[in-house]
């Protein structure tokens, strides 16, 4: 993080990996374009990483609020139709999706 590697483009393999993890289908041209843009984003983060944070507790959330816990009470689902009708395909009351295995 101390190294100044302001190379203007990200490795294409790295872009491909990120795209695959995010289930994005990108063309070669798009990948090249994103490689440059992502490199700029990473560069910004490198600037942030250069800040000395010794002794500072990592920030998980910007608020000082603490969580409110809910009592364990179950509520019967009134109508499941709205959930199922949103799905592209169904079989009875099950969601139908392309084969997984």
């Amino acid at each position: 993080m101390t190294k100044d590697n302001s190379n203007k483009s990200l490795d294409l393999a790295a872009v491909r990996k990120v795209a695959e993890l995010s289930r994005l289908e990108l063309t070669e041209t798009e990948m090249k374009a994103y490689a440059g843009q992502l490199a700029a984003v990473l560069e910004n983060f490198e600037q942030l990483q250069a800040v000395d944070t010794k002794g500072i507790e990592p920030l998980v959330t910007p608020t000082d609020l603490s969580v409110r816990l809910r009592e364990d009470e179950a509520v019967k689902t009134k109508d499941i139709e709205p959930f199922l009708s949103n799905a592209p395909a169904r079989s009875g009351n099950l969601f139908k999706v392309p084969p997984v295995v």
């Binding site: 959330t61 809910r70 364990d72 009470e73 499941i80 099950l94 999706v97």
Partner: protein
């Protein structure tokens, strides 16, 4: 799982691993028995009709926000304390990203770098030796839905999605298949004692994933590990781990490479096979879930839960052994389930303290009947009080041990009190010596040949006479008195 016997002898010795040493770590997913889900109010009863218990949160409708279930946190803290863990006072939920249709959000809410519980340990006995396995962490997360695969398509039921889970991760301390199974049984037993998980392996309320690697003895670094999933019994934990250890040793011996992968155990073929050979290693890209604030708990919250902890199974077994003077094996069997241990202690009390007799009756007669009729002590027709009273009747000499068997089966079928049965059936032991003497005289008179043979030195015939006298008294004569008087009479006096 209560029907599975306590493990006392290791069936797999280390000898056949040659100069290899297995390293095993286990991840247990325990479904917490809350009424509602981890982050929403939908019911956790996944056995309901298809998709009947779903809501905006577990189906990931846009804008729906998670709200943490208090009881899930309490149960997790309770288990963490029982495992001797440190409880983190400010723990954080993170998103674990992966794509699978039974995970509608595209991420699972879990805990990553700041889990609720850490650095615990679990003790148990294996081959009469005490073992200690470290607990690396125990963290809260939500379950995914259930997919069924039909070739051309898959079907998704989200009833289970969002059910609270506690993932309990052991250190890589386990060194053999029998130890792996016993570790899993122990964690299972503790969860059941705390009543935070129903422990049903078949229905997936308790799931074991075993991480297995082997290395040459003396090596200090770990070699590539393989994760075995789909193990739904403790016996299969042992078998799957054993198979995997031998498979890996075989690979190294033949120069094959071990790849880090997930393998499934097939109990029918007793082997593991590769589940998916994804080229790409998992990259879950965890980050703190911005929809959830850190879980903050204080000492009073933790102490309130600590005060509800029951005596844990191993402690209880050790106490049974010491204060009731029963063998280790008995104490381990009797503490398998909390309800059984409670039942046993009630029997001892009602029996006036005869702990050894109570242990024998519970472990042999009662457990045999319970197993045969698929009942538990909670549904036993014989109450602990009645079984205890029956033992007291034997100790008082009111009934013989033999008659007690009759009383026992009568209690089992009618649920009546032992005194009532003894009275109704006229089962009181005959201790009146004159009545017994009369029966003996009759038997001797009716068996001149046997009497002569016995007096000529055929001692073995003594049993014959006892049998005849007991028969004549319908088994109700006091065996002690029969023995005494018979010896005297047969001697010819």
């Amino acid at each position: 799982m209560s029907s599975e016997a306590v493990h006392t002898t290791g069936s797999t010795s280390m000898a056949h691993y040659g100069d290899y040493e297995p390293i095993i770590g286990i991840e247990i997913h325990a479904q917490l028995s809350t009424k509602s889900k981890m982050f929403c109010t939908a019911s956790t009863d996944f056995g309901a009709g298809d998709n009947e218990n779903i809501c905006e949160v577990d189906t990931a409708m846009p804008g729906a926000l998670p709200v943490v279930n208090k009881r899930a946190v309490e149960f997790s803290v309770k288990m963490g304390l029982a495992l001797g863990c440190e409880i983190r006072k400010r723990s954080v939920f993170s998103r674990k990203q992966y794509f699978y249709p039974d995970l509608p959000k595209g991420y699972q809410i879990s805990q990553f770098d700041l889990p609720l519980c850490e650095h615990g340990e679990v003790d148990f006995y294996l081959d009469g030796e005490k073992r200690k396995i470290s607990i690396t962490r125990a963290h809260m997360e939500e379950d995914a839905g259930k997919s069924t695969h039909h070739g051309e398509y898959s079907l998704i039921n989200l009833n289970r999605a969002g059910t609270p889970l506690l993932e309990i991760v052991s250190g890589p301390d386990i060194r053999g298949p029998a130890e792996a199974a016993e570790y899993a049984r122990t964690v299972h037993k503790i969860l059941r004692y705390l009543d935070v998980c129903d422990g049903n392996l078949e229905e997936g309320s308790f799931r074991c994933d075993c991480n297995v690697s082997v290395r040459k003895k003396g090596e200090t670094t770990l070699r590539t590990r393989v994760e075995i999933k789909n193990i739904n019994s403790f016996r299969f934990v042992e078998k799957a781990v054993e198979y995997e250890i031998l498979r890996q040793i075989d690979c190294y011996e033949t120069g094959e490479k071990i790849v880090q992968e997930t393998r499934l155990y097939d109990p029918d073929k007793n082997r593991t096979f590769a589940m998916r050979s994804k080229e790409e290693a998992h990259d879950y890209r965890y980050f703190p879930d911005p929809d959830l604030l850190p879980i903050e708990i204080d000492d009073s919250f933790i102490n309130a839960i600590r005060s509800t902890l029951p005596e844990l199974p191993l402690k209880r077994a050790e106490r049974f052994e010491q204060s009731y003077k029963i063998p280790t094996y008995d104490s381990l069997v009797l503490t398998q389930e909390k309800a059984l241990a409670d039942y046993y202690e009630d029997v001892v009390k009602a029996a006036g303290g005869n702990a050894k007799a109570a242990s024998n009756w519970v472990m042999t007669d009662l457990m045999r009947e319970l197993n045969e009729s698929k009942k538990t002590v909670e549904t036993s027709p014989i109450s602990s009080t009645n079984l205890g009273k029956m033992i007291a009747l034997i100790d008082k000499g009111t009934i013989s041990g033999k008659i007690a068997k009759t009383v026992f089966s009568e209690m089992w079928s009618s649920g009546k009190e032992p005194e009532t049965i003894v009275k109704e059936k006229g089962l009181v032991q005959i201790t009146d010596t004159s009545a017994i003497e009369k029966a003996i005289d009759d038997v001797i008179a009716a068996s001149p040949n046997e009497t002569a043979a016995y007096r000529a030195g055929k001692d073995k015939l003594f049993g014959f006479f006892v049998g005849q006298v007991m028969k004549a008294t319908k088994g109700q004569a006091s065996p002690d008195i029969v023995n005494q008087l018979l010896k005297k009479k047969l001697a010819g006096s």
